[in-house]
Symmetry: C2
Subunit: 139 residues, 2 copies
């Protein structure tokens, strides 16, 4: 097996491991995958409108309408209109939504911890540096 092969395999094994870890974390909560992703975006970016939310999630606004409907019903978020432009609805996390975000974030920390635990401190630094590079330049 050559170098490119090997790295490709490890990259996708890593990605799949991450994926199934995420899904299993979400399954322990009251949220569906779509809802959890929306909460992540809202927690990170604060109040945003439907269109931005759709763009961050990589779906259509129609899809986002449905997702936010559910989040409102479950009391994780609310729509608020603004007087500047009456077409726009800002989505805001409720108290409950913010708690869910914080909790999910804690899971992320836990996974990072788990990863750090198997690496030397030198490797930790290398990993951070490499990820920064890739995130800035490769995608």
């Amino acid at each position: 097996m050559n170098y490119l092969d090997e790295l490709t395999q490890e990259l996708f094994t890593f990605f799949n491991g991450f994926s199934s870890w995420e899904n299993s974390v979400i399954k322990t909560s009251d949220l569906t995958v779509a809802e959890a992703h929306a909460i992540e975006v809202l927690g990170k970016h604060g109040q945003i409108n439907m269109k931005s939310l759709a763009q961050y999630l990589g779906v259509t606004t129609g899809t986002t309408t449905v997702t936010v409907d559910r989040l409102e019903k479950k009391e994780y978020a609310t729509r608020e209109s603004i007087k500047e432009d009456r077409r726009v609805h800002l989505i805001t996390l409720t108290e409950k939504g913010q708690r869910a975000f914080a909790e999910h974030h804690q899971y992320h920390y836990n996974l990072t911890d788990q990863i750090l635990a198997v690496l030397s401190s030198e490797e930790n630094e290398q990993l951070l540096k490499i990820l920064k590079k890739i995130n800035e330049e490769a995608f």
Copy 2:
């Protein structure tokens, strides 16, 4: 921002970048995400039965039945029964299925290339070593 924070953020940015890259690649094909994942597993592991396929995909056998139905209809895969155990159906990629797998695999190589391009050869080696460790021990 502390170290743990920073690494967590980079890890999830990386994961999300990977995710949306994957989805956009799949969207250019004739396949849905579920179908593409099934083809990936079948291409990697060869002939397997429904239960193994479901386990690799992390879904129930009911879900897998539907996915394989669709793959058969689109002529990417076939079910074959074996005489040793008449309950078991082995799923096999057709010629067309193998071509789809090879094509998808090529995309993976391309992404790896893209990632390698922004790293020094020293960093490449560090990344491979680190990913191997994480994949073996952290998940």
